[in-house]
């Protein structure tokens, strides 16, 4: 249904927010991304999983241009990243990113963390920026902490603030890089709840995570990576069913058993 809503009057090409073809990246001699193809349609929710060192974080960091790539193409909303610095920067503004280690600015209050880009990038007035930021802080259910500093919050609270901060610029796609991996177990749920609510609202998401419960609930495509390659991709229903790639079955068994 989402496809119809956002696809009005657009051809299929622009309906596809991320279009990755034959992407290759090396760190020195290490081949971290090996011929990766991936398309993410508007409104799609893609979960990327795989063992550590499989290249999944590098892939998601390529999507907003935090990492460069050496071969292949990566189109973000019709702009090929890495060709032109100004176009790359403009395309990046359509993304919001949430990091494993939150990366909140420790010297700024929660509210200022959220308003910084609104003021300096989007050019909003002080008033406007605060209103937008407070709306998003309410969405992640933490408005009462607006005046606190990140160091005064729990990990789960910090990550929810980080999500609000990323939402403030009204991105067309949200990128999550292992958002719950640095959290204590009792805090994982509060962050996943926010992410599920975001998915329900129709946000396009690419999410690197090992939370298979989350993947089962919201993903419409699960991608399994290992050794810099995408080994398996399937609708969530099939991925967790019996038909998957042997490597992803093995991986699933390992992490579901803990």
């Amino acid at each position: 249904m989402n496809h119809e809503k956002s696809g009005q009057g657009m051809n299929t090409q622009s309906d596809c927010i991320v279009d990755i073809q034959g992407l290759n990246k090396w760190f020195g001699a290490l081949h971290v991304l090996n011929d990766v193809d991936l398309t993410v349609a508007s409104g799609a929710r893609v979960v990327v999983c795989g063992p550590s060192g499989s290249g999944k974080s590098t892939l998601i960091r390529c999507i907003n241009g935090l990492e460069s790539y050496q071969r292949g193409t990566l189109c973000l909303a019709g702009t090929t990243l890495g060709l032109n610095a100004r176009e790359t920067a403009a395309a990046r503004r359509l993304t919001g990113m949430v990091f494993q280690s939150f990366n909140l600015f420790p010297h700024l209050t929660v509210l200022s963390n959220c308003t910084l880009a609104l003021r300096r990038v989007a050019g909003k007035s002080h008033r406007e920026a605060q209103d937008i930021a407070m709306a998003h802080l309410e969405k992640v259910r933490i408005p009462e902490k607006a005046g606190s500093y990140p160091g005064q919050l729990s990990g789960g609270q910090q990550q929810r603030v980080a999500i609000a901060r990323a939402l403030c610029l009204n991105p067309r796609i949200m990128l999550f890089d292992e958002p719950t991996s640095a959290l204590d177990p009792e805090m994982i749920k509060e962050v996943l709840d926010v992410m599920v609510a975001l998915a329900r609202d129709g946000m396009t998401m690419v999410c690197v995570t090992h939370e298979m419960g989350f993947a089962r609930e919201v993903a419409d495509q699960v991608v399994f990576m290992d050794g810099g390659r995408i080994l398996d991709r399937a609708p969530a229903r099939d991925f967790f069913g019996a038909s998957g790639h042997p490597r992803s079955r093995l991986f699933l068994e390992t992490i579901l058993k803990h």
Binding site: N64, G65, L66, A89, R92, R93, T95, G96, M97, F99, S101, F102, N103, L104, F105, P106, H107, L108, L116, A117, R120, V121, Y149, P150, G151, Q152, R165, A166, L169
Partner: protein, 219 residues
């Protein structure tokens, strides 16, 4: 002979009268050292031949005594026809010498900021300039505040070196009294005690500042 307390006390006002000069010299030198040190660190960070050269200059400064630098400037500048007051030369010497140390302070202050901070700034589409102004610089300032304060104390304790250039700071005044009265112990002890009290008081202030900075917004 022994220690004449009354004479020592009588020398206090004269020596104390130079506290202003001492603090002023230390303060200006500290600002000069910070400015040169910051410039050095920026050039070193940029790399290339200029960066390597500046890196070597920093190492050279750190491997040589402040007294040698003071003599160098004091005697070499007039040789090239540059005549400056001894106070100016003294401030230049302290600034140059301590810039080598403050460059390291800036380096540590920048290196201590997690890589994720500039990545988050990029992910939020902040320009390079805005990232530096709003994200990197405030955190660097917080990281360097305490070491900078400690170096201010070091510079303060180095100001009596300027007595060898005949700058009228506290040690210079003490020697003036000594050469008039042929009594060295009392004025030197008085000058030493005043420096000790100043250094301890400022160090204490720096420690408090450090604790407050750690308390606010610790991660």
């Amino acid at each position: 002979m022994g220690f004449d307390l009354a004479f020592a006390l009588s020398s206090v006002p004269t020596i104390l009268g130079a506290v202003g000069t001492t603090l002023c010299v230390a303060f200006v030198s500290c600002i000069g050292a910070a400015a040169i040190g910051f410039f050095f660190e920026m050039v070193r960070r940029a790399g290339g031949i200029a960066g390597l050269t500046v890196g070597f200059v920093i190492d050279f400064i750190r491997s040589t005594p402040v007294l040698a630098w003071l003599y160098f400037l004091y005697f070499v500048l007039p040789f090239y026809g540059i005549r400056l007051g001894s106070m100016t030369v003294g401030v230049m010497g302290l600034s140059l010498y301590y810039s080598g140390y403050l460059a390291e302070v800036f380096k540590a202050g920048i290196d201590a900021i997690p890589k994720g901070q500039s990545e988050a700034a990029r992910a939020l589409s902040l320009s390079r300039r805005h990232a530096v102004i709003y994200v990197i610089a405030p955190q660097m300032l917080r990281n360097i505040a305490a070491p900078l304060g400690n170096y201010f104390v070091s510079i303060l304790k180095a100001t009596p070196y300027l007595a060898v250039l005949a700058v009228p700071e506290m040690l210079g005044r003490a020697f003036d009294i000594a050469s008039e009265t042929y009594r060295y112990t009392e004025p030197l002890v008085v000058a030493g005690l005043i420096f000790l009290v100043l250094a301890l008081a400022i160090s204490n202030g720096v420690k408090r500042l450090e604790r407050r900075l750690l308390a606010v917004g610790s991660r």
